[in-house]
């Protein structure tokens, strides 16, 4: 089957719809997923197609959205629960961290929790401090959870389908700014991208740029600009913060001996910290420069447009970081 150019939002919709058709146990719930077609319109038309039994509007109650998903997954369903924005996941943190992640382990494997918690994520658009988090590294901290964040429409479809079919609990983050971005998407209903496999988004030989989610776009734009200056960057999209494809990162690093990490999240105890640690632990003999990190600034995100933009990562910051390691 051929590819079709779709915005990431529609790629996700197709993935979810195909999996609901494929497996009667898959159902969706969350705030606004039904009558309002989903806050980000991923579940548009689902209420009509699948009915209120499988498309459940919930109260504003993240503890119930996440907690009841855990319970129903333990009882044999395969919930795809939606948290409107990942900021609100903090309200349901006990269900996510203490239960979704740990039930299997705490029951010595007697119960599984095959659920997906879809969260819209990302900074920007003046949504400010309590509304603008990209906190996926926090969730990736906890063993038991898988954490994925696609950078384009094709990956979004293949990764979400893998997440729904997997028996492990998956926190699946979707960058709001990427929802409208179009890209070629396979129409094959069995197109699945395996969990934990990263992807080389651009081959190169001089510097490895490791990123995920929206950072991939900044990295590719930076690489295009740097190519004109004779710098050949390889862009590694890890796709999954957990399980992390360290093999792919190391393979690239052995070739380039230099690394820049790009993320939308905050700098302390971050994705960048983890990649830098992994490289110095395992790749020390290959290092020609310190690992450089590009992230948001270490502040709660402010509202005023000028200082908000200043606090965020961008292409120029990636270019500057690459120039520091070559």
């Amino acid at each position: 089957m051929a590819d079709k150019v779709l915005p990431m939002r529609e790629a996700l919709r197709n993935a979810l719809r195909e999996e609901m058709i494929r497996d009667e146990r898959v159902y969706v719930m969350g705030q606004e997923v039904g009558a309002w077609d989903g806050t980000h319109k991923v579940t548009r038309g689902f209420l009509e197609e699948f009915g209120a039994r499988r498309v459940r509007d919930t109260p504003i109650s993240e503890m119930v959205i996440a907690g009841a998903a855990v319970g129903s997954a333990m009882a044999g369903l395969r919930p795809v629960a939606e948290i409107m924005t990942i900021n609100f996941a903090f309200v349901g943190m006990d269900a996510i961290i203490n239960h979704m992640a740990k039930v299997r382990y705490m029951f010595n494997g007697q119960f599984k929790v095959p659920m997906v918690l879809r969260c819209a994520t990302g900074w920007g658009n003046q949504a400010t401090a309590t509304h603008s988090h990209t906190p996926e590294p926090i969730f990736a901290h906890f063993p038991g959870l898988y954490v994925g964040m696609p950078s384009n429409a094709r990956d979004a479809k293949g990764m979400l389908k893998a997440a729904i079919r997997d028996d492990n609990p998956v926190l699946f983050s979707e960058v709001i700014a990427l929802y409208p971005k179009p890209g070629p998407v396979p129409e094959d209903p069995d197109f699945v991208l395996p969990i934990g496999k990263g992807d080389i988004k651009r081959p190169g030989k001089d510097v490895t740029i490791v990123s995920f989610g929206r950072g991939v776009e900044w990295s590719l734009d930076a690489a295009a600009a740097l190519e004109k200056e004779g710098v050949d960057c390889e862009v590694v999209d890890v796709r999954w913060l957990r399980p992390l494809d360290t093999a792919l990162i190391f393979e690239s690093f052995k070739k380039t001996n230099r690394c820049v990490v790009v993320e939308e999240s905050l700098p302390y105890y971050s994705f960048g910290s983890e990649i830098a640690a992994q490289i110095q632990e395992h790749m020390f003999d290959y290092m020609d420069a310190p690992v450089k990190r590009v992230s948001a600034m270490d502040v709660p995100l402010p509202y005023a447009r000028d200082i908000e933009l200043m606090a965020l990562p961008n292409v120029q910051k990636v270019i500057a970081a690459v120039k520091e390691v070559i």
């Binding site: 705030q31 606004e32 009558a35 309002w36 077609d37 509007d57 919930t58 109260p59 504003i60 109650s61 993240e62 503890m63 119930v64 900021n87 609100f88 903090f90 309200v91 658009n125 003046q126 949504a127 400010t128 401090a129 309590t130 509304h131 600034m297 270490d298 502040v299 709660p300 402010p302 509202y303 005023a304 447009r305 000028d306 200082i307 200043m310 606090a311």
Partner: protein
């Protein structure tokens, strides 16, 4: 602000000036709110969340407390409430545009997330219901200070109750239950105003809870609960006055469910035509609290048509000036971005 004798309808004691001030505050909030929608649709501001239809709840509540002294922990629809406390349309316009010198946060917070220490107005989160345990904590501090002789019960310069507001949608959050329960356990001087507009964004009341009234939940926490017509500013004032007296006298917390109508979408980010019929909205507009209060005041001869027109002209002038000043003001200085993440270095603690 001494405790007045028990009276079912203390609003009968309101002077013509006080009644006209209530009307003025509601009108000023509405015109300011309407301008925010225009600015959003013109692409000049990033976001607006509206209080249109809720003005009577908020002004009725504000006028029943010791304004600027009693703690207020508002939510994002409380424009009329904060205008009654002293926040100005200019302050609000500065927050919409995110400009230098903005009152609440130096333009760090989203608009409609008000705070001002000088009015004992406490900043809130975009995550709903988080204000309820915090407001219970404010009320706890009042009781603690009184019980330990740190303030006197008749010291009217100190806050004597804490007010918090939220929508009925937010009462599905655990934090609401936990905060209310604690207020009940300790008989705290807390007044929780649930502005029930029947929608949690798009999800209607009957999909949020299987009871007819949010106030039914008061019994579960051992607090006093009542339901009031939130489109009637005087009914709201009366209900609130009774709650304030209970709080001031140390008789515990009150849950007020104020039933009202949201005359707009949830925020500038949604289109309510997808989940609410136009007929339903037209019906709601019949209960517009400002129009109905104007009829009351005109009917009683408290306000003349000429005065009503003067209020309109004055509100437009204030909003126009505020809009102009905010739009032309500079953005915050970039060097301030790290200010106030932490307290300054304290040499005694070695930090």
């Amino acid at each position: 602000m001494n405790a007045t004798p028990a009276l079912d309808t203390p609003s009968q004691l309101l002077s013509p000036e006080a009644l006209k001030e209530m009307y003025w505050l509601m009108l000023l909030a509405r015109r300011t709110d309407e301008r925010a929608w225009v600015l959003h649709r013109q692409g000049k501001i990033a976001f607006h969340i509206s209080g249109m239809g809720h003005e009577a709840v908020q002004v009725g509540a504000a006028c029943a407390i010791h304004r600027g002294v009693d703690y207020v922990h508002p939510y994002y629809r409380d424009l009329a409430l904060v205008l009654a406390l002293g926040v100005t349309p200019r302050d609000f316009m500065f927050s919409l545009f995110g400009k230098r010198g903005e009152l609440s946060s130096g333009a760090r917070q989203m608009p409609s997330h008000w705070s001002a220490r000088k009015y004992n107005l406490v900043s809130s989160s975009s995550v709903v219901a988080t204000q309820v345990p915090q407001a219970a904590g404010l009320a706890f501090a009042i009781k603690y200070k009184r019980d330990h002789g740190l303030i006197q019960a008749d010291d009217f310069s100190q806050p004597r109750c804490a007010i918090t507001c939220l929508g009925e949608g937010s009462t599905s959050q655990g934090e609401w239950h936990e905060g209310m329960n604690w207020a009940g356990v300790h008989d705290l001087p807390l007044i929780c105003i649930v502005q029930n507009n029947n929608y949690a964004i798009s999800v209607p009341f009957e999909k949020q809870m299987n009871i007819r009234s949010v106030a039914d939940r008061a019994n579960a926490y051992g607090v006093h609960g009542i339901t009031v017509n939130g489109s009637d500013v005087l009914a709201m004032y009366d209900a609130m006055k009774a709650a304030v007296h209970r709080a001031y006298r140390g008789e515990g917390a009150t849950l007020i469910e104020a039933k009202c109508h949201r005359l707009t979408p949830h925020s500038s980010d949604d289109d309510d035509r997808t989940y609410r019929s136009r007929e339903e909205l037209e019906e709601a507009k019949r209960f517009d609290p400002i129009m109905s209060f104007a009829q009351v005041l005109l009917g009683r001869g408290v306000m003349s048509t000429a005065e009503q027109q003067e209020f309109e002209a004055k509100a437009m002038e204030i909003v126009n000036t505020a809009h102009r000043e905010a739009e032309s003001a500079p953005y915050p200085d970039e060097h301030t971005i790290y200010d106030h993440i932490y307290a300054p270095i304290n040499h005694e603690s070695g930090r």
